[in-house]
């Protein structure tokens, strides 16, 4: 296990390093920072002055090391526009997006578990077909469209839920339903496949031969093993939702990380964009590491190199 932890940690650190280089290059290559600070009307002298004051005249490698070194100490730079420090800015928006991600996964799990278990227990029956059809349908619906349909139903027609902002829990209902609806099919497919596989395993036959009740076999023996990959997928999904909730946050005007990023992108506020991309990517790497370690801790076969 210690070997696995070491290997995975080294791998994650390496990926984090490459991610930071990619993020840095992405924002440096896609535009002239001096122009985005000074505006298109800035004179040549003004631009040169801006380059010196922001350190943009230095070699790329020096700039990267400076940026990455500060990032390691938690200093992610300052917004070009508001002059605010980016790190506290991201942290102040994080609760909204994290709540949204957790609620969405909860919605996805709440849909995937009953349907997935029922489908696996009656493989090929109408329940199975129904579950898979619902999954296929939801996989083809972009979350911003389901979000707009929800607004149409609950916000406009029934007037039961707020359609924008994040004032209290009710603001999270529709966005979480929209995103959870999109997350659910992957969870369902994985859970169903895992259940089908474990239900066919020898130890299930043994449990059945011992005379255990069907309920006990399904819940204690089959589900417990099928649930592992689903848990680690949920962890990875959480990482993905942090960066993937931009459109839903825009539809519901939720003041989360996605909205912060989108506004920064529109104003070419590079330090903010850079910091958010790096932050989201690092969380994804961390969630992946967690998923790998969960799998390793629970499944001895993975521990071997």
């Amino acid at each position: 296990m210690i070997g696995l932890v070491g290997r995975k940690l080294a791998e994650a650190a390496l990926v984090a390093l490459i991610v930071s280089v990619a993020t840095f290059l992405l924002t440096t290559w896609t535009g002239d920072l001096a122009i985005s600070i000074g505006g298109l009307g800035a004179s040549r002298e003004e631009l040169d002055r801006l380059r010196v004051t922001h350190g943009l005249d230095r070699p790329l490698l020096v700039q990267y090391l400076d940026w990455a070194g500060r990032a390691l100490t938690g200093d992610l730079g300052r917004s070009f526009f508001s002059q605010e420090d980016v790190a506290p800015l991201i942290l102040s928006r994080l609760p909204v997006t994290a709540t949204l991600a957790v609620c969405s996964i909860a919605v996805g799990v709440a849909l995937a578990f009953p349907l997935g278990i029922a489908a696996a227990l009656r493989q090929g029956s109408w329940v199975d077909t129904l579950a898979q059809s619902i999954a296929a349908l939801s996989q083809a619906m972009p979350s911003f469209w389901s979000g707009l349909l929800l607004i149409l139903l609950f916000g406009v027609t029934l007037q039961a839920l707020p359609i924008s902002g994040a004032d209290d829990w009710s603001s999270f209902v529709m966005p979480s339903l929209a995103l959870g609806w999109f997350v659910f099919p992957i969870l369902l497919r994985l859970l169903r496949a895992g259940m089908v596989e474990t239900l066919g395993a020898d130890y299930i036959r043994t449990a059945r031969a011992k005379g255990l009740s069907r309920r006990r076999i399904v819940l204690r023996h089959a589900l417990r093993n099928a649930v592992l990959p689903v848990v680690s997928l949920a962890a990875v999904q959480f990482g993905q939702l942090l960066g993937g909730s931009v459109v839903v946050e825009s539809v519901f005007a939720l003041p989360g990380i996605g909205q912060l990023a989108w506004h920064a992108i529109q104003r070419a506020d590079y330090p903010v964009v850079q910091a958010i991309v790096l932050f989201v990517a690092l969380i994804f790497v961390a969630m992946n590491l967690v998923a790998d370690l969960i799998n390793g801790a629970l499944d001895p076969r993975i521990r071997r190199p």
């Binding site: 791998e11 390496l14 990926v15 490459i18 991610v19 990619a22 993020t23 992405l26 924002t27 896609t30 535009g31 296929a136 349908l137 996989q139 083809a140 619906m141 972009p142 911003f144 469209w145 707009l148 349909l149 607004i151 149409l152 406009v156 496949a193 993905q240 942090l242 960066g243 993937g244 931009v246 459109v247 825009s250 539809v251 996605g258 990023a261 989108w262 992108i265 529109q266 070419a268 964009v273 958010i276 991309v277 989201v280 990517a281 690092l282 994804f284 790497v285 992946n288």
Partner: protein, 295 residues
């Protein structure tokens, strides 16, 4: 002279694949829907009832024909500029299909090369490419695409490039695994022993045997590309007005949600049908071409 070769040819595998595909319900349904979209989209200049750009203040926000006050002159109604919605939807289908297939092709080219090289060369090369894949997965593709598009400007070519460069990971992952499984089989070793170069083996011996995997991933990723392109254009980046992309149509419909909800409903429904068809074809190809494997 003998007629034997004819009999042999009857049992050739491609025949069997086609027959199995045509017996697969999902494939038939998905393929028909896809075909309808292709015909309506690419035939739009001749088939569409109206000019998709022609505006008129006299006929703004008409409801579809089946709703009260609708008329069959504008079967799906009109948008806030008075443009015929059906015509725009059909022209938009062409844009969606072009973006989907070109982006999936570009992503497929990148992902296939990386996956095949990694799976065949193994060792250090494989580790390096796997790191690249992990990096790509870690970077939030939508945010990156938005940031690049904001700077790189608009146009269909930019959208295809950005999507192609962000959607290749699944090709790489799946084809790497596929090649890992067949890369040391006898026929590959035999080709190596007879003096074939690595490049030749990858192109001539491995490529034809992973075509099935490629096609499966391609159908899924084409669907993903449609979804991503629509999300980007819904936010206002990429292809610009007055072009009738479905994303722009939905963004405009969002402003008239209370007045004419059909605008949002119809464009989204078309999008869902197209993606569903692509996923159905993907599922069916997986059953037919790569049975027993989890893709």
């Amino acid at each position: 002279m003998s007629t034997a070769p004819v009999i042999v040819a009857q049992d050739a595998p491609p025949d069997g694949v086609w027959r199995r595909a045509l017996r697969h319900k999902g494939f038939v349904v998905g393929a028909i829907v896809l075909l309808v979209f292709i015909v309506l989209g690419f035939g739009a200049p001749w088939l569409a009832p109206h000019d998709p750009y022609a505006q008129s203040l006299m006929r703004r926000l008409r409801p579809p024909a089946w709703a009260p006050n609708g008329s069959w002159t504008y079967p799906l109604g009109t948008d806030s500029f008075g443009r015929d919605y059906l015509s725009r939807l059909m022209h938009g289908a062409r844009l969606a299909l072009i973006v989907a297939f070109s982006a999936a092709l570009l992503a497929g080219a990148i992902g296939t090369i990386l996956g095949v090289v990694a799976g065949y060369m193994r060792g250090r090369v494989d580790r390096a490419i796997s790191l690249l894949i992990s990096t790509r997965l870690a970077l939030p593709s939508l945010l990156v695409a938005l940031a690049v598009l904001q700077v790189a400007g608009s146009g269909i070519l930019v959208v295809v490039l950005v999507l192609g460069l962000t959607l290749w990971d699944r090709f790489a992952v799946v084809l790497r695994t596929a090649v890992l499984q067949i890369g040391r089989l006898d026929y590959v070793l035999a080709a190596r022993a007879s003096g074939a170069s690595h490049a030749r083996i990858m192109a001539r011996e491995l490529a034809p045997n992973i075509l099935g995997h490629f096609l499966v991933v391609f159908s899924y990723e084409a669907g993903q590309a449609v979804l991503a392109a629509t999300a980007l254009s819904f936010l206002g980046l990429g292809i610009q007005p007055p072009e009738p992309t479905w994303g722009l149509m939905m963004a405009e419909g969002r402003n008239w949600l209370m007045v004419n909800p059909w605008l949002i409903a119809i464009a989204g429904f078309a999008l869902m049908l197209l993606v569903l068809a692509m996923n159905l074809v993907g599922d069916a190809l997986r059953d037919v071409l790569t049975p027993g494997e989890r893709l």
